[in-house]
């Protein structure tokens, strides 16, 4: 099961990438699971867990950590928004 993962703003800068394709192992079916999977790589990736108030979206809609992730989804992680 593959998903697209995007990073924005301070998180994108901290990770040095704006996105990637991530293969999800069996049983990794929630946003919280995806976040933990990526953070487990260590190094800068741990910022995904350490960054305060990180927000996320699934298929371009805000989503909670418990939300389900499906094959082909576009998942995004980003800091609290500051537009307007």
């Amino acid at each position: 099961m593959n998903i697209k993962v995007l990073y924005f703003a301070a998180l994108r800068e901290a990770l040095g990438t704006s996105g990637e394709t991530v293969a999800l192992p069996e049983g990794c079916t929630t946003l919280a699971g995806v976040r933990a999977l990526i953070a487990a790589r260590g190094g800068d990736w741990e910022k995904l867990e350490r960054m305060k108030n990180l927000r996320a979206a699934i298929n371009q809609r805000m989503a909670e950590p418990s939300a389900t992730v499906a094959d082909g989804d576009e998942v995004a992680f980003f800091p609290p928004v500051t537009g307007g």
């Binding site: 371009q60 928004v81 500051t82």
Partner: protein, 149 residues
Amino acid sequence: MSVSVQEADFDIGAEIDALLAGRTDVGAVATFTGLVRDINDGSGVHAMTLEHYPGMTESALEEIVAQARARWDILAVRVIHRVGTLQPADRIVLVIVAGSHRGEAFAACEFIMDYLKTRAPFWKREDTPEGSRWVDARDADDSAAQRWN
């Protein structure tokens, strides 16, 4: 189209005229314009860059407008948000709400701004004499959005 995300500046008067063109049922127009200030959190700001999440920004703004239309009896809405690099005094965002009466127009305009500030995926980075920094989300914006719950 009621929502635009663009690099280009906008003309407030022209946008109001376009929204009201041909209508004679509008009694009240409330607008909000957000501008780049030269000072933020005590530091001078000489430029600001707005990053966004293409695709999601438009749909997030459209959903906020739809919520405003469901809550209040309003007639027309226009939202424009700029992205890219801006200077102090540059316009960032415009919200126009037209209605029959002023109470609904004011409330819907303020609601759209409060929700935009906390739910639309834009991020500001400021250039200051101390360097470039991402703007922190303000607790005041969360409180402002929560009062509509």
